[in-house]
C-alpha cells in the first residue's frame, strides 16, 4: 500500500515536474502562458506591497519601488506546489476530496509565496547583503515546510468521515 502510494507520488511529481521544466520554444504558446502567469504573480506581489509602500508599480513581471524585483520561473515556488499536489493526488482518498484539498492547498502555498516575494523586496531594501540567504536558503526551506504542513493538515480532511477509498 505504502509502496504503491510512493510510486504514484513519484510518477505524478515526475510528470508535473516534466511539464514545468520542459524546454518549451522561446516564443511559443506555452512560454507565453508562463509569462502571463508570472505577470499575474508580479501583480499580486505589487498589490500586496502597495499596502506598505504606495509608490510600488508593476511592469510586466517586474515590481518596481524603492528596490526592484523580477519574478522569473523559479520564483513561483513551483517545487513546493508540485510536491504538495503529487502527495495529495497520490493519497488514497475520494477524488472530490483530493481536488478540494488540492485547490485549497495550492491557493495557500501561492499566498505564502506572495508573502515570501514581498519579504524579499523588503530584505533587498533594508539588508541587501542578506538577500542570498533569505532567497536561496531560508525561504525555500519554509516553502517546503509549508507544503508539508499543508499536506499533513490535508490528510486529516482526506481521511475524515467514512473511508470509502477510491483506488
Amino acid at each position: 500500500m505504502v509502496a504503491r502510494n510512493a510510486f504514484r507520488f513519484a510518477l505524478i511529481s515526475g510528470v508535473l515536474f516534466g511539464l514545468y521544466s520542459f524546454p518549451y520554444a522561446e516564443n511559443g504558446l506555452s512560454e507565453g502562458w508562463i509569462q502571463q502567469y508570472l505577470n499575474g504573480y508580479a501583480h499580486c506581489v505589487g498589490a500586496y506591497l502597495r499596502l506598505f509602500e504606495s509608490s510600488v508599480s508593476v511592469h510586466g513581471n517586474t515590481v518596481i519601488g524603492t528596490a526592484s524585483i523580477q519574478i522569473v520561473k523559479s520564483c513561483d515556488a513551483m517545487e513546493a506546489v508540485i510536491l504538495f499536489a503529487a502527495a495529495v493526488l497520490a493519497f488514497p482518498a475520494p477524488i472530490v476530496r483530493k481536488l478540494t484539498a488540492l485547490v485549497a492547498g495550492v491557493a495557500a502555498i501561492t499566498c505564502v509565496n506572495v508573502i515570501r516575494i514581498s519579504s524579499l523586496y523588503f530584505v533587498l531594501v533594508d539588508r541587501p547583503q542578506t538577500f542570498e540567504f533569505w532567497h536561496l536558503e531560508l525561504w525555500p526551506l519554509l516553502m517546503i515546510v509549508t507544503s508539508l504542513v499543508l499536506f499533513l493538515l490535508g490528510t486529516r480532511f482526506l481521511l475524515r468521515g467514512p473511508l470509502e477509498l477510491s483506488r
Binding site: V2, A6, S21, S74, P140, L141, I144, T155
Partner: protein
C-alpha cells in the same frame, strides 16, 4: 517521539546552516577531492577536469577548471553551499534525528545518502561539459542530453529541492534499509504500515480472530 524527532531535526538543520569557521574551506577540500576522483575519468588526456577550493579564505566555493582536447581552458566558480553541502547537511540531520535503534542499517543509509546526493548535484557538471560550449567534453545523444537537462532543472536548480530531495532520499532509503528510523516520524497514512507491531513481524498473515466463548455456554445452531 515525533516532537523529539522534530526538535532534533530542527536543531541539526540549524547547526548545519551555521557557517562555522573553517567549514567552507573543509567542504571545498573534501568536495574537490571527491569530485576529482569521480569526474576526472570523464575527461581523457589531454582534456582535463579539476576542482580546487577557492582560496585561503573560508569560502563555500570551489573553482572548476575544464580544458578541452584543443587546449581551450575555462574556469567557473562552483557554489558548494547550495549543492551539495546543504542537501547533505539536511540529509544528515534527517538521518541523525530519529532515535538510534540499529546501528548498521543507519550507517548504511547515511553512507548511501552522503555519497549519492553529491552525485545528483553533479548533474550540473555533466550538463556543463556536455552542452554546446567551448569546453564541451562529452557528446551525448540528443535524448540523453534532454533527460539530463530535465533532471537538472527538476532536481538541482529549484532552491527548495535542496531540502525536499534529501528528505525524500532519507525516506526512501530508510524505508528500504532502516524502517525503525521511520517509526519516529511516520504521518497518518504510513503509521499503520510501520507500526511497532509491523516492525516486529515484517510478514504477517491476516487471519480472522478465533471466536471466543467466555461463558462456556453451548451455543445452539439454528437450523431452518
Amino acid at each position: 517521539v515525533r516532537a523529539r524527532f522534530l526538535l532534533r531535526l530542527f536543531v541539526l538543520i540549524v547547526l548545519g546552516w551555521v557557517p562555522w569557521p573553517g567549514l567552507g574551506n573543509l567542504v571545498g577540500r573534501v568536495f574537490s577531492a571527491f569530485a576529482n576522483v569521480v569526474a576526472g575519468p570523464l575527461a581523457r588526456y589531454p582534456a582535463a577536469i579539476e576542482f580546487r577550493p577557492e582560496g585561503p579564505g573560508d569560502s563555500f566555493n570551489a573553482i572548476l577548471s575544464v580544458t578541452n582536447r584543443t587546449g581551450i581552458y575555462q574556469e567557473m566558480l562552483w557554489d558548494l553551499r547550495r549543492a551539495p553541502y546543504l542537501p547533505v547537511a539536511v540529509f544528515l540531520a534527517f538521518s541523525l534525528a530519529p532515535p538510534m535503534r540499529r546501528l548498521r542499517p543507519r550507517l548504511l543509509v547515511i553512507a548511501l545518502g552522503v555519497l549519492g546526493l553529491p552525485l545528483i548535484s553533479g548533474l550540473r557538471l555533466l550538463l556543463a561539459i556536455s552542452s554546446d560550449s567551448p569546453i564541451r567534453l562529452l557528446e551525448l545523444p540528443a535524448s540523453a542530453e534532454f533527460l539530463l537537462t530535465m533532471a537538472c532543472r527538476t532536481l538541482v536548480l529549484p532552491p527548495g529541492m535542496a531540502y525536499a530531495l534529501p528528505a525524500m532520499t532519507w525516506l526512501a532509503l530508510s524505508w528500504w534499509l532502516d524502517r525503525s528510523a521511520l517509526s519516529a516520524v511516520v504521518p497518518l497514512a504510513v503509521e499503520e504500515a510501520v507500526s511497532p507491531a509491523t516492525l516486529a513481524e515484517p510478514v504477517r498473515t491476516m487471519r480472522p480472530a478465533p471466536r471466543r466463548n467466555p461463558g462456556g455456554r453451548k451455543t445452539r445452531r439454528r437450523t431452518r
